[in-house]
Structures are given as structure tokens and as C-alpha cells.
Amino acid sequence: MTKQYDAIIIGGGHNGLTCAAYLARAGQRVLVLEKRYLVGGATVTEEIVPGFQFTVFSYLVSLLRTEVIQELELVKHGLMLLPFESTLDMAPNGDYLYRAADHWATYRNMARHSRRDAEAYDEYKLRMRHVAHAVRYMMNHAPPNLNLAGADAPALAGLARHLQHMDRDVLHTFVQLLTMSAADFLDQWFETDIVKAALSTSGLIGSMVGPYSPGSALVLLYHYLGEIDGVYRDWRFAKGGTGGVARALARSAQSFGAEIRTNAPVAHLLIQNNAVRGVVLEDEEEIWADAVISSLTPQLTYLKLAGEQNLPADLVREVKSWNSMGSAGKVNLALDRLPEFACMKGTTHSQAYYAGAFSFGASLDYLERAYDDAKYGAYSARPYIDAGIISVADPDIAPPGKHVMTCFVMYAPRYLKESSWPEQRAAFGDTVINTLAEYIPNIHDILVGRQVNTPWDIEERIGITGGNIFHGELRLDQMFGRRPTSRTGGYDTPLHNYYICGSSAHPGGAISGAPGRLAAMQILNDVGQGTMGNS
């Protein structure tokens, strides 16, 4: 059998599509295989309640690499990122913290809680920007192969040079961020609970840690990497939901000649003499290619598609202990009209906050107690909810005058100790609505439909083993040269012609396109086509 493609990409999530687009752009014949009826993976928009488009799983775009947008001409292919102007964090005691694009509006509101915190906020953001800037090197370079310290000398030397040139204070802050808890880290700048809580939540999103857990500061840093150009205005909604990102990527890939097949689940790889020759679909169709690239989780990439028997025992052991346990659910609401926030009644803010993001539960203890429930195998009785009414910025996704509200809900462990998710899904949804009702008294009156996604749904529907939105906890022992195993370098696998390009590869999850892009660079290097783009 002769090859039909230069490269087959398994999984049409945003990283698979990014990798495909880059390879096709370099002239490779590329096929993307997606098991679902639509591409996007966790970046999909679907009409679940008639007339309401839900950004089903993911909801915010902040880390999408500028290089990816430019090199793949995503704007030409329909990508539109909508800035949101503000963040409104609501505390369980009825208080709130409002941060807006207007620096002085933010200052005034923060000073309402503490003048010292308001002063410290600028200093804090500046330090985080410096760290993010310094770390950008790592986001744009493949990590060294830790197993071949000698052989991978160039990568190591590059990193060492980079670290040596980092400002000492910035380096120290970076080291702190690797292992500290978000609460402790923020303690260095801030004194009020609501400020620390509101800022700490970036250290929790998608991870099974509380604000007092060591390691949450690393997640915090990760979420700041998208803010290189300044404030949180760089968090964006995508026009049409995050499915809009996938659509633009798919169009870009197709414009470069890539083929995309949906409803095409891959059963396993075709392997001959420790080299991958292609894939076998679940309907037993064989497709041959020079390279196969998996954007799936390590468990699926290795244990299911490649098979334990074809892999070194060390690697199998590492993959089996890979932690990709989910910690969150996603509840999408169809609303008849805009919600009323109890905490904003009687305040003088304009209603501009509707166009921003909201969070419910901005108190460190509240967040930590929500985590406590989850660590013993229950979903939070009173969850933390990170939300946005995307239809305010993008009215096209809901019927006129009506709204879509996206709710990222923490914490929801993958496995419930007392029950199972299919049994508890509705009760979990009720818990979310009841929690929202504490902040939005009219929520029951305006609710016209809802969709509840649990970690079980994330695993079953889009194939993220464990349901972790990053394909694996963002922890130092699962980052960098260990992502997803220490047995390989960059985007290689122990099998010839087999690569990885998903969120479980360096630098990690979120809608960044970085793993897909870096993987494509390595593959093109391997086939002698050198690098592309401006790296």
C-alpha cells in the first residue's frame, strides 16, 4: 500500500487544525480526521436550545498566539475577537469588585476596598507582565528532551541563556509562581479578601486546586501569558463562540489544501517495525501516510491508538499516571432577557459591565470550601462560577433581545464518590442555578433553557480523558519537558513518524494554538522542510 497523505492529524480540535494548517501551508498533503460531525473539539459552538448558540465547552480566548493568527491568516478566514470591557467579581457577602478597561475606574473601585490594594494593583500587573514576557520564550520553543540532557544541549543552552538574562526579581517571582499557592502569592501585594479572591481565580480555572493549594500560582501565571500586551482586555470572546476560532482554523487549513473528514473516528494506528504508517478507522478503512499526528490526550494517543505492546514500559507507566482528571463543569444558559445583579442595585455604574465577564463566589474561603467538596469526590455544594453573557458582545448568537450566558463551574470532580454523573447531571445544574440565584434574584424568571456539561460529558462527547480542559493538570511535574512524558522530546513519540500536537503537549492547554504550531515546526524540520513562519 502506498501513502495517500504526507500527514494525518487525529482529532480536529483547535490544535489539530492549527497543526494541519501549518503543514498544509508548507505544501504537505494533509488529512484531518475528526470523530464528531463537526470540527473544533472543545472549541465548538452548537445550537442546543433552538435559536441559542452555545459556546459549549470553552468560552474565552486569551492565549491564542499572535503568530498563529497572523501566519494562518485567521482574520481573513473569519476570526473575529471581541474585546470585553470589564470584569465584575461578586462575593458571597453581597459585595463586588469591578475592574474596567478604564484604569481610574478600576482604581476607584479597588480603592473602595483598599487604597493600598488599588496602589499595588498596577505594580502587580507590571510584575506579572514582566514574568509573562520572560516566559514567552518557553511558549514559543519546544522544551528540551529531559532524558537526553547531553544530546539536547542546544535546547538546554538556549533555555539557560534565557534564564541567565532574566532580571533577578523577575526570575525570583517566576520561581515563586512555580510552586506557591495563588493566595500566598497575592498576599505579597494585596490585603483585602475580595481582591485576592478575584485575582486568585485565574489560578484555579480548570485545575483541581484551591486558592490555598500550592501550585495554584502556576495556573495563575499560565493565564497571564495571554495578557502580554497589558490588561485583561486581552481576554476576548470569539465571534460566534469559540467554534468561531475552529471554523477560521478549518478554513485556513482548507485554503492551504488540507482535507478535513468528520464522522471519521480512528480506531488505531498502522504500525510496522516500530514505525507508524497510517491509521485504521473504526469502519476498518485504512489510510496511509508518512506521518501521523495525534491531538488527543496521552492516554488515547498512546494506550488506545498505539497500544501498550508497541511502547516502552517506562512510557506506559508515565502515561498511566498522567493526571487529566477534570475539575469543572460547563453550564450554558438561554435567557429571555438580561439578568439583574443584586450587588449592582443602587450603584452608579453604567450597565457596561454586562459586556464583560462575571464571577460568582469571590471569597478565598468560599473558593477553598468549594474545592474541599471536590477533593473528597463531590461537586461543590456552592460552586464558584466564571461567566459571561456573550450575546451582549455578539447578538447574533441568540434571538433578538435574548441572551446566552456561559457558566464555567468549579468544582466538579471527574468521579463522584457517591454516585455517577449521568445520575447527578440535573442536580448539578440545579445547584448552579440556585447558586446563581443568590446573585441574580430573577434568574428563575428569565431562564428558558440550559445545557449541563459535566466532566463525564467532556470525556464522553469530545474524548478528553478525565475531562480536564487542559488535557492534563498544569503542574510543574506535568509541564515543559515532562508534558506529557519525560521519555520524549518536544512533539516526538517513541514510534517513528508519530507525533503529538494537542493540549497535553508543551506548552499546554487553553486556546493558544501553541502546541499545534510548535509540533508542525518540528515535523517540518524532521522532513527537511525547515521552519516556517517567523519563529
Binding site: P144, L146, A149, L156, L159, A160, L163, Q164, R168, L171, H172, V175, Q176, L178, T179, M180, D184, D187, Q188, Y212, S213, P214, G215, S321, N323, D365, E368, D372, K375, Y376, R475, L476, D477, G481, R482, S486
Partner: protein
């Protein structure tokens, strides 16, 4: 004739201060050691809390003390005698059974076998693995790395990095299935740490303990006559080399001349000058109390102010009429090491949960020793002394005060103890509770932290107590930290004092 009264003044006669004094004196320096308490030994001393009953207050055993220090200072010639318990850990379980870890691997395996054949089969590998990894850690503990070294270690020691950040529970779950064994290991990993086993950082504590070179899980190495005898032996060694020592001599401040330490002022007003000052106090006390924030660069003040202490350890000392019966114990030798109430990782984590919110759990982690079993001289004939180290007793009670809650804590500890040693309450003649506030007030340990600062990654190595490169731990010239606040940290290894003293004498001779 030097312009100074002494070559070196050492503030605080804890074991690290004593080790520096002995090391410097042995190298020919004139040394004055100043201790504010009436007794030397700091947090490793023995006190007669009740007539005839001698208790180790603070550290209970010397399992982590580096053998090279014992040898170099000739401590066994100066009266130090170790007593090793054949059993290191005895852990009664809720179902009435008990797991015993012995110094002897085969015996441990047999005990683990009752709970899990798989765990029993893996135990030797686990101990070997810990040992192997701790050998990689050991050189880093001896020599403080710089921030740049940390970057190098990050890529050269990937397995250590993994162990530094994998949650302890995840690490132990990958090795073992039995709650009893994981509870013992979990307890070791969180000892002195204001965090639970579900968090990162505990694996490092396991390694840190293993790296002190005593094999196995270590532990169970007691000092004849009590821990105070270690201080006495160190003092004897120091005096033998000419060191002077004063107790009841509290230092009020460190004298400075152009950002250089030149001596100390005692709280009676007396000034003593020295070419160098060593402080075995923690960073907060050394810099804020003795040096004074106005004499320090603002950036450094901010660093010291940001250090995390958060003591979480209380002790309950019991004078007992006799030896209590422990559930699951078949032989008295099982009880001569640590008796551990830590039935599983979730139990430990829940105990921590209470502390996070400023409370102590009715189901605490207890690490119990009965030193009089190996050393009957510590208690009147037929009686026993028992010291219980308890977690989590948070320093910050969120508005409540330990002065009001010390006795309720004692009651809670006894109630928990009663579950594994039914009838123990009736044997108690006397009890004394020591809380984090006591450690702070009497021992000068900020927030009662027994390690003089949390041993979390961001406060270790190049960052302990403040980041390298700026001031190498002290912006004041000729002022050196030499206690647990300095690299590599607490736990009665003797390393902070030993390495500080060695480095100083080498530089002086160079």
C-alpha cells in the same frame, strides 16, 4: 590583639547555634554563645515538667542529625548516646489492627502483608527509590544553590523536580493501596507543614528526611537522657575548644557600623563586640527585632515580611501512671518508636481542612512517643512519659486565642488518643499543652513554626530565607543566619549550623 571582644558571637543556643560555636571554637576562633533562656538546647531540650518526669520539649528524637557532625565534633565522647527503637512507626487502625514499620525491612514487609500483599511486595523498592532520589538531593542540601543553579537543576534533575511538585497523595497512590501505610508516609510528608497530603510539597519532605542518610524511613533514634543531652554534648564539645556560653542572656539588638555587624547589645544594656555575628533565630526575629527594619533596604524588608511561617504544631506532654494499652499492639517493642494516628490520607487532609479555617480538628494527626520505654530514667519507676506532637494546630485561630484554647486542644488530643489507647485517660497524672503561641513566646519561633519558616519550595534552596544573588541571605555584612531559617532548613539535621560554620572557617582561613 583584635579590636573586638570576640571573633564571633552566636545568638541562640539551639542545636544549630551550638554546632556553630563548637565548629568555630574548634577552628581556633574566640566564641561567645548567648542564650536568652535558662537552658540551652532551643527547640531540642529536655525539661522536668513534673517532678521526676523528664520530657523532650520540641524535637523528640535525633533521627535526622547528620552523622558527620556527631563524628567531627566527637559528640559521643562528650556524652551523647543514641538509643534506637527497633520499631520506627506503629499505626493503630480504626478496625483494631495495627501496622508496624520496623528498622528491619523483612519485619516491615510482614506487617504490611496483613494489609496488602501488593504493598508488601513494593515496599523494599519504595525505600530503595526514596534512598536513591534522596542521594540526588543530598549534595543540594549541603551547598546552597544560587537562583541560576536552580535553573540548571530544573533541567538536570527532572525527577527531583517531579517529586517537588507532584501531590503527595498522587505519589503515594501510585505506589501503594493500603491506607495504613499511606497514612504513615503521608504523616511524615506533612510533618510541620501547614498543608495536607493532597497538596504538593509533601514528597519533598519525605525525601528531605530520607536524605539525612539513616536509611529506610528513618526515625526512632532517641537520645539517652533526653534530647537535652544532645545540647549538653554539643556544649561540652564547644567548651572543650574554648567557647564561652551564657544563659539568661537575651540579645536586644545587633550593633551595626555602616551596614556591618560589629557585636550585640544585651537587654541589660551591656555591649559586646565581635568580628562576626551569627544568629540562629529566624529571619523575622533576626532582621526585624535584632537589626531593625530601618537599618535594612526596603526591598529586603518586604521579602522578610512576606515570608510564610504559619506554625501548625502543638505538643501535649503526659505523665502517665503506667503504659497504656494500644489497640493492635502485641508487643511492647512496637511502641518504642513513633505511634502514629494517621489512618489514611483523607484523614490527614480533613485534619488540615479544619486548620485552614482557623480551627483544629477533633480528629487530629498524632505522632506519639514514649521515650521512657527505651530510657526508664526519664520517669519515676513504673511510670511513663508520653509526648504527643499534634497537627494541625494553626497559629492563626482567626480571632480566637491559644491561651483560651490550649486546654480544649489537650482535651481533643486525649479524646483522639483514647480511641487508639482505650483507658489512657485514667493513667494521666499530669499534662502540659504547648501551642504554636508557646513556641513563639518562649522559643522565639515566629508564628510557632518549628522550621523557622515554612519548608515550602518557594522558601527553600536559593530562596531560603531570601533569594540568593541579592544579599546572600543577609544585607548586613558579617551577620550570618545559622539556624533552620537558613539553607537547607529545619528538622534537626544540624546542617544549617554545620555548613554555615564550615563555610565561615574556610573563608577565614583562606
Amino acid at each position: 590583639m583584635s579590636q573586638y571582644d570576640y571573633d564571633a558571637i552566636i545568638v541562640g543556643a539551639g542545636h544549630n547555634g551550638l554546632i556553630v560555636a563548637a565548629t568555630l571554637a574548634k577552628a581556633g576562633q574566640s566564641v561567645l554563645l548567648l542564650e536568652k533562656q535558662a537552658h540551652i538546647g532551643g527547640a531540642a531540650q529536655t525539661r522536668e515538667l513534673f517532678p521526676g518526669c523528664h520530657f523532650n520539649v520540641g524535637a523528640q528524637e535525633a533521627g535526622l542529625l547528620r552523622q558527620e557532625i556527631v563524628h567531627a565534633l566527637g559528640l559521643t565522647d562528650h556524652g551523647l548516646t543514641f538509643m534506637e527503637s527497633p520499631a520506627t512507626h506503629f499505626a493503630p487502625q480504626p478496625d483494631g489492627r495495627a501496622l508496624t514499620i520496623w528498622r528491619d525491612l523483612a519485619q516491615s514487609r510482614a506487617s504490611i502483608q496483613q494489609f496488602s500483599a501488593a504493598d508488601a511486595a513494593r515496599f523494599a523498592d519504595f525505600v530503595a527509590y526514596l534512598q536513591q532520589m534522596s542521594e540526588r538531593l543530598e549534595p543540594i542540601l549541603r551547598q546552597r544553590p544560587s537562583l541560576d543553579d536552580m535553573g540548571r537543576l530544573f533541567v538536570e534533575e527532572p525527577e527531583l523536580v517531579r517529586l517537588a511538585t507532584i501531590p503527595l497523595s498522587e505519589f503515594l497512590d501510585n505506589w501503594f493501596e493500603g491506607n495504613a501505610l499511606k497514612g504513615i508516609l503521608g504523616g511524615l510528608g506533612v510533618s510541620g507543614m501547614m498543608r495536607g497530603p493532597y497538596a504538593q510539597g509533601g514528597v519533598f519532605m519525605l525525601l528531605y528526611q530520607a536524605a539525612q542518610g539513616n536509611g529506610g524511613l528513618g526515625g526512632g533514634r532517641f537520645v539517652q537522657g533526653g534530647m537535652g543531652q544532645l545540647a549538653q554534648a554539643l556544649a561540652t564539645a564547644a567548651r572543650a575548644h574554648g567557647a564561652e556560653m551564657r544563659t539568661n542572656a537575651a540579645v536586644a539588638s545587633i550593633l551595626l557600623e555602616e551596614e556591618r555587624a560589629i557585636g550585640v547589645r544585651l537587654d541589660n544594656g551591656q555591649e559586646v563586640s565581635a568580628a562576626a555575628v551569627f544568629s540562629s533565630l529566624d529571619a523575622r526575629h533576626t532582621f526585624f527585632t535584632l537589626v531593625g527594619a530601618p537599618n535594612l533596604p526596603p526591598s529586603f524588608v518586604r521579602r522578610v515580611r512576606s515570608l510564610k511561617y504559619r506554625g501548625c504544631t502543638a505538643q501535649v506532654h503526659l505523665a502517665l501512671r503506667g503504659l497504656p494499652d494500644f489497640r493492635g499492639a502485641t508487643d511492647k517493642t512496637q511502641l518504642s518508636g513513633h505511634i502514629v494516628l494517621a489512618p489514611g490520607l483523607a484523614y490527614l487532609e480533613r485534619a488540615y481542612d479544619a486548620a485552614k479555617y482557623g480551627d483544629f480538628s477533633p480528629n487530629p494527626y498524632l505522632d506519639i512517643v514514649i521515650p521512657s520505654l527505651l530510657d526508664p530514667t526519664l520517669a519515676p519507676t513504673g511510670q511513663q512519659v508520653m509526648s504527643i506532637t499534634m497537627q494541625y494546630a494553626p497559629y492563626d485561630l482567626r480571632g480566637k486565642c491559644w491561651d483560651d484554647l490550649a486546654e480544649p486542644l489537650g482535651d481533643a488530643v486525649l479524646a483522639a488518643l483514647e480511641q487508639i489507647a482505650p483507658g489512657v485517660g485514667a493513667l494521666v497524672n499530669q499534662r502540659r499543652v504547648m501551642t504554636p503561641l508557646d513556641w513563639e513566646r518562649e522559643w522565639g519561633l515566629t508564628e510557632g513554626n518549628i522550621y523557622q519558616g515554612e519548608m515550602s519550595m518557594e522558601q527553600m534552596f536559593a530562596m531560603r530565607p531570601t533569594p540568593s544573588g541579592e544579599h546572600e541571605g543577609s544585607p548586613i555584612k558579617k551577620l550570618f543566619l545559622c539556624g533552620a531559617a537558613a539553607h537547607p532548613g529545619g528538622g534537626l539535621t544540624g546542617l544549617p549550623g554545620w555548613t554555615t560554620g564550615q563555610l565561615f572557617t574556610q573563608n577565614e582561613h583562606a
